[in-house]
Amino acid sequence: MASVAIFVFGIGNAPAIFMVVVALFFHMVLATVGQIDGVNRNLINVARTMGASKWQIYTRVIVPAILPGLLMVLRLNMFGAWMVVLVAESTGVGYGLGQVIMLARNTFNPSLVFFTIALIGLLGFCSDWLMRLLQRKILYWVPETTGVLRGL
């Protein structure tokens, strides 16, 4: 896929963005459709008996109902996107942490390879932590997890 992307878009950010979109778009769409299918029918029926329009049912019922699941999907996809970006960088972009790893590998510099790997891990963890904060801010109604699962 990387070679196709470079062939079409040339060297630079475009092939990396293209790869992230291709890798995650369909997953996101299917996950969202799945979430919408899983919305409690009663909640929708309540809104219908109160005379809600289709648009109102979407904005007032379906969107808040799928939001917790959607943010979880978003967090999972952050991981995916991060990995795809690194793969793209190591082949086509010409710069970035992926490229640094490739460079270090080609110049027999294992300490730089492992340092970059650690850095990638740290950045991934931090972005997930930010997403978690965001999740807690937005989903004020979802009860905090208890005991062992606290913070997840």
């Binding site: 409690n40 009663n42 909640l43 029926n45 309540v46 809104a47 219908r48 008996t49 109160m50 005379g51 809600a52 109102q56 007032r60 019922v61 808040p64 004020y140 109604w141 979802v142 009860p143």
Partner: protein, 252 residues
């Protein structure tokens, strides 16, 4: 076949069902008949309990009257109008809690008003008023998951009452509650029904509940034929009237 005597549909009747039938998954291999030739008349202010075994089409009938599903045959009328879709005049209350977890109790109670686009002040006043009627004024700013099962059902009733419905449809609303809470909720429901003057159609499979609540109990019979697919119910097989003693629940 005995032809039924024709009874004109009056605009006075809260709900009139004429010969309605419902086939689920119509036109497919999995098609099965849930209701067949059902006639039911509900007068304004009447409390009717639909009693019958699980799967005999009681809930289906409520969904048809609420307008959430379309009948396969026959006609449903309400106050002189053909039922073509859901309407705030006919509120449905479900067995499981159906409160919106992201709204407070007060916002849940006034959800229907916010759909109509009423102002925040009007919604708050209305929420306080209906919550007072169900005895939950102090819970107005709580979240549904902070309430017990019985309280949540009371909020659901309040939410329905806020729309000033003429017909309250209740689909086994107390089935998930324990015995004591259920008994309390029955008294509570009779009080609410008495001051709202709405007709109530209440589905249950508990005979004691039916007897405790109803003006009239409609019993459905479940006919299971040789083939599972032709399992059907004949509704109503029997209607039992319960003269309500004037003081049976009023004033204590």
């Amino acid at each position: 076949m005995v032809s039924k005597p024709f009874k004109p549909i009056s605009s006075q009747d809260a709900v009139v069902c004429r010969n309605i039938s419902k086939v689920w998954a119509e036109g497919t291999k999995r098609a099965h008949v849930a209701l067949r030739d059902v006639d039911l008349d509900v007068t304004p202010g009447e409390f009717i309990v639909l009693l019958g075994p699980s799967g005999c089409g009681k809930s289906t009938l409520l969904y048809l009257i609420a307008g959430l599903e379309r009948e396969s045959g026959g006609e449903v009328w309400s106050f002189g109008d053909r039922v073509a879709g859901p309407s705030p005049e006919r509120s449905l209350i479900f067995q499981e809690t159906s409160l919106f977890p992201w709204l407070t109790v007060g916002q849940n109670a006034s959800f229907g008003l916010s759909i109509r686009g009423e102002s925040a002040g009007a919604r708050r006043t209305a929420a306080r008023e209906v919550l007072a009627r169900v005895g939950l004024t102090e819970a107005i700013d709580k979240r549904p998951d902070e309430l017990s099962g019985g309280m949540r059902q009371r909020v659901a009733v309040a939410r329905a009452l806020a729309m000033r419905p003429k017909v309250l449809l209740m689909d086994e609303p107390f089935a998930a509650l324990d015995v004591q809470t259920r008994a309390k909720m029955q008294d509570f429901l009779l009080d609410v029904w008495r001051d709202s003057r709405a007709s109530v159609l209440f589905v249950t499979h508990h005979i004691d509940e039916a007897v405790a609540l109803a003006d009239r109990v409609v019993v459905s019979r479940h006919v299971r034929a040789a083939s599972r697919r032709s399992c059907r119910s004949i509704f109503p097989a029997r209607a039992i009237r319960f003269p309500r003693k004037p003081n049976c629940c009023a004033g204590n």
